[in-house]
């Protein structure tokens, strides 16, 4: 038997509100493994019918951009307004664009 770890690792939780929509990040929690993380996500984040599907991923597995590089990564988009799809009319029927 292994020496128990003192703290459970952190997991990020994603909930799909309805079929057809994407999974959205809702928060994080602690769990010993993936199966427990799913159960905890169910118990913590879907108590009020928030969703029909859950994803969990170890927070340590997420690769993040470097805040120090924000200028180089995001500044150049600032003056490219023509990239915004504001020159189209969106059909009435499209609800979740």
């Amino acid at each position: 038997m292994n020496q128990p770890q003192r703290d459970w690792p952190l997991w990020e939780v994603f909930v799909r509100a309805r079929s057809g929509l994407e999974h959205k990040h809702v928060g994080s929690l602690h769990a010993a493994d993936a199966a427990m993380a799913i159960d905890h996500a169910r118990d913590v984040y879907t108590r009020r019918q928030e969703g029909v599907s859950l994803w969990v991923v170890r927070s340590a597995d997420i690769v993040a951009s470097d805040p120090g590089e924000a200028d180089a990564l995001f500044e150049p988009a600032r003056d490219k307004v023509y990239r915004h799809p504001t020159f189209y009319t969106i059909p009435e029927e499209v609800k979740n664009l």
């Binding site: 038997m1 128990p4 459970w8 929690l29 769990a31 427990m36 159960d39 905890h40 108590r47």
Partner: protein, 267 residues
Amino acid sequence: MSAAAQPVPPATITIGRDATPLLRYVLRLGDTSLILGQRLGEWVGHAPAIEEDMALANLALDCVGQARLLLSYATEIDGRGFTEDDLAFRRDEGDIFNLLLAEQANGDFGRTIVRQFLLDSYFIELFGGLAHSKDARLAAIGAKSEKELRYHLRYSENWLTRLGDGTDESHARVQKSLDELWRFTAEFWVKDEVDTALVAQGIAPDATALEAPFRRRVAQCLSTATLRQPADAPIALSGRTGRHTEPFGRLLAEMQFMQRAYPGAQW
């Protein structure tokens, strides 16, 4: 309280020996859910992790929900105009008919898991059987509860495996709790005139038919959890006839305090 409030019912409600088998049966079911919900609720704010606090509170709320459906059905059968709250908070020990296992103290987290696992393994068969009851209300309650029970069982089964097949200490603790609590499962299979009458009418599932699937599931889970099944032993007390174990008085005092101290008080 408004002036138009209902007249306050008697401080203590008794269930006469002449109560119908259906009333006694529904109270046994409802009281077991009520008392287990109360025990699980004691964990709120005390669980080993906030996620488990939420999980146990969710289980507790499912139990209280089942109790509400069953006790509110009991008030209709009873016919004296009481509410489900009256039945929950105004009966004394001898008129409450829960299974003894449900009232056993929480102990450590592992002991709560053992109690939960044994009750869940029984309930999943019981509520599954009730879903086919000739009594339409019980059939509906059974079908609804069975879905909740599938999650409860998944939760308690997972934890039983983690603790049983975990560290030396967690294994020793859950084995000890299992050794202490196993004897209360004998009460699941005891049949009296209430059961006989309702089984004959197709209202209650026959406990004998529930025992084999219960034992199969328990044997399999205990083996996965590397736990040893204790020997069977007969049980003398019966919560189902209102004869309880020692920890029950304190549970009841805490659960009923507000309504006993301030009869008819409302939020």
